[in-house]
Every structure is written in structure tokens, then in C-alpha cells.
Amino acid sequence: MLNRRIFVQTAVVAGIAAAASLAAPQGAWAANEKLRIGFVGVTSGPAAAWGISNVRSMQTRAAWINETGGVKIGDKTYDVEIVTFDDQKDPKRAIAGMEKMAQERIHYVVGPNVDDGAAAVRPVAEQNNIIYFPYAFPKSLYVKPASNAVLGMVANYQSGPAIYKYLQDKKGVKKVAFVCANESDPLSQRESGVAAAKALGLTVVSDNITYQVDTTDFTPVLTPVVRTQPDLLVLSGAAPANTPQLIRAARELGYKGLISAETAQDAAVIKEGAGDLANGFISVGGASTPEIATDAMREFVARYTKMFGEYNDESNTKVYALEYIFETLKANPKAIDNVEEFKKTMETLAAENIFMKGGAKLKYVGMTSFGQKRQVSVPMVVNEYRNGKFETLFIAEVD
């Protein structure tokens, strides 16, 4: 009796399995292998916008690649899967996130977004053969003996001097004031900004005013700064959420000089928060301004907008990390699970930059700042905000 029941059950299960296999689309058998790329960064809380623009850039690009057949590395074609971990801007959670990536045998990770998180994950990444692309500026992550971190953007100590020099030469700036949030990233960016300004011979009239990251009314913060009457007010490390309010408060206090930031900003956010008061605001962006954007960049923006309802200008820079990972792996397929091979290829990579006009190349840079190629070469596009959108002021390159 028992044997008969087991026989019947087995037959039913086998029948369902056979039917399912016949019903399954043929393509399912021919599915590409998965190439899993990690993200460890902040996607919740006050700084969520930084990490979410990373994740959404990666997801948009991955979906686009998968839709068009996958990414061919060596003789294999892979579908891209993005594995994300929200570190909540907490270094302890960032370590947990990187450990999760290691457990899942992921070798290439984008993030973390802030200095302390990027520094915290370094031992985990190095012990587990993970190359990671932080959006954090401490030089110790990128100079020897460190070798697994690759800076994913232009650092403020690279963009700041270029912007100040431009404004000194073209706009006659002589006096500069700095204001920043009381957090490690903005504070370190302010320090390097002050050093760069002094090196150019500019007079720093205020460099000790900071604000809490959760400040919503910046009038009291900026009151003493504006009274120093600077020609240029630098918002060091300003988060996109704070920038419009800072601009608005400064203008309402009667400040008529220039305002700049060395962090990526979002034109829509500035328009909503500061409106015409933000005209003339200078910041660093990626490659989506009409002068340099290719059809691929425009398609990326369109796909991102379609997937998530609204584009984020910060993603102009953040789309690049994934592209660098793919191009390096294409150039050396052995690097798919061997980060030492990846590092070797970083020395020589020169692939087409599909997002920027003018024959720009994807290549690793950083020799001047770090003594080794541990930075992606993204265009340093200095933008000026005007009437709801960014206009290119000038373009420069790191190294």
C-alpha cells in the first residue's frame, strides 16, 4: 500500500516536472551566466540620495545591458545582477555589507559613499580579494600599500583648485569663505579647499563655520559668514539636500558674490529649493550637459527616467564605475575572479567612453594624487546653474 502511494506520488511529481520542462521557454535553457556586481553604500536616512543614485545608475545600466543580450567577457556572455546592501552610513554596517559580498563571492563592489565607511571596509576587501569603488576622498585608501580601492569620482582636492583658479582669473575672486557640515567628509573637504585657496594666494575670510547635518534653516549659520563679505562662498562637501537651502539663505541675507560646491548636485532639486536665487551657482557634474553628452548618455538618462520616474543629475558621474568594471574585465577575462589580474589591466586600460563626445577614453588615473592608478577618469565638468539646468562652464581632466 505504502509502495503504491509512493509510486503514485512520484509519478505525479515527475509528470508535473516533465510538463513544466516542456512548457518552459526554450530561452530559459540558454540563459547567460550571471555576473554579480555588489553595492555597499547608504540608501536610507538623510544621505540616501547619494547611494540611491549609485544603485539606480547600476540597475539602469544592468537592465540595459541584459536587454541587449548581456556583456561579453572572453568567450562567455553574462547577464548582470546588482547585489545591494544598505550600510545606513554606518561603518559597522559597511563592514557587514562587504563581508556579505565576500560570502557571496562577489569580487567587484561599488561604494561605500562616505569616508569612514570606505576606510572601515578596507581590511575586509583586501582579505577577500574585492576591488571596490568608493565615493570617498581619503588618500590613504588609494596610495600604496592600499591597492584594492579605486576612487569613483573626482576628489574635491582635484576639482577645487581648478574651480578657484578659474574664478580667480575670470571673475576676479580675491576673498573666499568656506562653510560645511560638521561631519568627517565635509570637514576634510573644507580643509583641503582652504589649503588650495591659500596656495592660489586667495584670502580666506571665514573657515570655521559649520552646521549640523540635520540643519533645515541656514539663516543663523550663514549670518556671520555673509558678514565677512567674501567674493566666493564655498559649500564644502554640501549634500544635494542642503545646497538649495544654503544658497537661498545666503542670497536672502544679501550675499551677492559667487557660490560654489565641489560635490555633484541635482538641477531639479536646486530649482525647487532655491529657484532663480541659484542662478550662477557653480558645481562639479558628470557628462550629461548637451555640449558633451553622447546618444548613449541621453539613452541612459531616458532609461533611468523610465525606470525610476525621475532622473538624478548625480548619476552622470555614478554611471561610470560599472562601465569601468566591465571594460576592464573585457580587456582581461581572467580578472573575472582574479583581482590581481584586474589590477594589472588597470595599468593599461584604454576603452571607448560611450557617454562623452570627443573621443574620450575610459582609463584609470591617479598617478599625480596617489602615485598609482587608483581612480576612474570621469570628466571633470564644472557646471553653472542657470534657470533650472546646468550649463558647462569648463571641462578638465584629472592627471
Binding site: T43, S44, G45, P46, A47, A48, A49, I52, S53, N182, N208, I209, T210, Y211, Q212, D214, T216, D217, T219, P220, V221, T223, P224, P240, A241, N242, P244, Q245, E252, L253, G254, D266, A268, V269, E272, G273, A274, G275, F308, G309, E310, N312
Partner: protein
């Protein structure tokens, strides 16, 4: 100094309104509503949607924020806090529930409104400029400050003279005695929570015109609201108002006077608060409803 006082008064008015809803909920149900800041954020996003996205008048946006949050508050009390208060005598049960609710609302806000900072067009253009920038105050801030003070006054009058207000005050003073006098505890708890949440929504709607709104504002707003309540005395309306104005003035004075020493304003405020609470743990105004 004139500018510092003006900044402090403006901050105080908006802070007091934020603290009122929190202290009302605490007074009625002994619930520390850690989700108060998230309710403020939802209020801001509702006004943003109605005023900036749909193009309806600003006043409709603020009203929509108030109504939305009142409904959310009533539902939260009826289906979450009410049952927990009835079943559990441990106060930490409601605290954990409130913390969980804060996380939930954060996630809901992210899903519905996204991660970006949002702002709305100015409701009034222009700047009040007294004596060549001796005192500068944008007209929209003045309007928001006046509206906040009017809302506070309306709230006090409502609590003082309406039947519902008297019932809620009775509940806050002595729940058992109020029940014996025929006050429906469940009903007025729902009304009280709805009113507290509505205040958070209204202030979110008002301030979105000045500060904008984003996902991350909830937690810090709750912390500041708790500070004001601690200064003034938990569960005391006049205490919340006093706490709001004191915190606003301390912040304004500190940010200017202490600027040369770095960002130590909140360090000084927190240290002073600890000393103050060690001396007077019940805050300035003492017991609920005085």
C-alpha cells in the same frame, strides 16, 4: 544682535508648533511617539504634491497635509497603539512600536516620494530689510512664523474651551477620574492622536515652503521635538511652547556667538540640558496640564 533675536523668534515659533503635537500625544497616552518627525515629513510631502505638483493653492496643500496626517494618526492609534496599550502594561512596548512605526514611515516615504530633497515655489516673494541688513527676514518666513503662532493660539483655545479639548485635558490629568465622569477613553485617545499627528502634518506643510523636505528630516525633527518637550516639561502645552522658543533662541544665539569655536552650539545645548534635567527633571512647567 537684532538679527540673532529675529532668527531665534522664527525658529522658536516653528519648533513650538512641532513640539505641540508630540506633547499632546504623550500627555494623553503616555506614548513617546518617535514617529512624530516622520509624520512631519509626510505632511511636507503632501503639501509639496498638492501645491507644487498639482498646482493647487498652498492653503489646500496645508489642509491636505493636516487631514492626511489626522487620518493616519487616528488609524495608528486605533489599530496599533490602542491595542498595545490595552494588552501591555510595559511602557517600552509602545516605545518599540513607535520606533518601528518611524522606520515603516521612512520606508513608505521613500517608496512614495523618493530620495530627493523637495521644495515648493515661495508663497510670498521679497525680503523685509530693516536698516540696511541690520534685520533681514524673507516675507515667507514672517508669514510662516505668524501662521505658526496663530496655529498655536488656535490649538490652545481649542484645548481650553471646546468640549473635546476639555475631555482630552481631563484624560491627561487623570484617566480613571475622566472615565468615571463619562469620558470615552478610546474615542478621545483616537481624537488626541489624530490632532497631534495633524499638527505635525500642518507644520510640515508650512515649513516645506521655507526649508523644503526630504526623507532624512524625520529622525532629527523627532530629536529636536523631544528636546523641547524635555525643556518645557513632558505633556504640558505651555511647556512645549516655551521649550520651542528657548531651543530656537539658544540655537540662534549659539550659532553666532559660538561660531568662532566651531560647531559646538548643540554640544553646549545638550550639556546644558543634561545639567538642567539633573536639577529639574520634570522640565520647566512640571506635571501634565499643570
Amino acid at each position: 544682535m537684532e538679527q540673532i533675536i529675529a532668527n531665534g523668534l522664527y525658529l522658536g515659533a516653528q519648533y513650538a508648533l512641532i513640539a505641540l503635537g508630540l506633547t499632546l500625544i504623550f500627555a494623553l497616552m503616555n506614548v513617546l511617539n518617535f514617529a512624530h518627525g516622520q509624520m512631519y515629513v509626510i505632511g511636507g510631502f503632501v503639501t509639496y504634491t498638492v501645491y507644487a505638483q498639482l498646482g493647487l493653492p498652498f492653503v489646500v496643500g496645508v489642509a491636505a497635509s493636516g487631514v492626511t496626517l489626522a487620518i493616519i494618526g487616528a488609524l495608528v492609534q486605533k489599530f496599533l497603539f490602542g491595542p498595545v496599550i490595552r494588552k501591555s502594561v510595559r511602557e517600552e512596548s509602545t516605545m518599540l512600536l513607535a520606533a518601528g512605526l518611524a522606520f515603516l514611515l521612512d520606508a513608505v516615504v521613500l517608496l512614495l516620494f523618493g530620495e530627493k530633497q523637495r521644495g515648493v515655489p515661495k508663497i510670498v516673494n521679497g525680503i523685509f530689510n530693516y536698516n540696511d541688513y541690520t534685520i533681514v527676514m524673507p516675507y515667507d518666513k514672517i508669514l510662516v512664523g505668524v501662521l505658526a503662532i496663530l496655529a498655536i493660539a488656535a490649538f490652545i483655545l481649542y484645548m481650553q474651551y471646546s468640549k473635546t479639548g476639555r475631555a482630552m485635558r481631563a484624560l491627561a490629568q487623570d484617566k480613571v477620574a475622566a472615565q468615571l465622569m463619562g469620558v470615552d477613553v478610546d474615542r478621545y485617545s483616537i481624537i488626541g492622536f489624530a490632532l497631534g499627528a495633524m499638527l505635525a502634518g500642518v507644520v510640515g506643510g508650512l515649513l516645506v515652503t521655507v526649508t523644503g523636505i526630504n526623507l532624512g528630516m524625520g529622525g532629527p525633527t523627532s530629536i529636536k521635538a523631544f528636546m523641547m518637550v524635555m525643556i518645557g516639561g513632558a505633556g504640558v502645552i505651555s511647556g512645549a511652547i516655551a521649550g520651542g522658543f528657548i531651543l530656537g533662541m539658544l540655537e540662534s544665539v549659539g550659532l553666532t556667538v559660538l561660531a568662532a569655536y566651531g560647531d559646538i552650539t548643540y554640544l553646549v545645548i545638550f550639556a546644558s540640558l543634561m545639567v538642567f534635567l539633573a536639577i529639574r527633571p520634570q522640565g520647566l512647567m512640571g506635571k501634565p496640564w499643570g
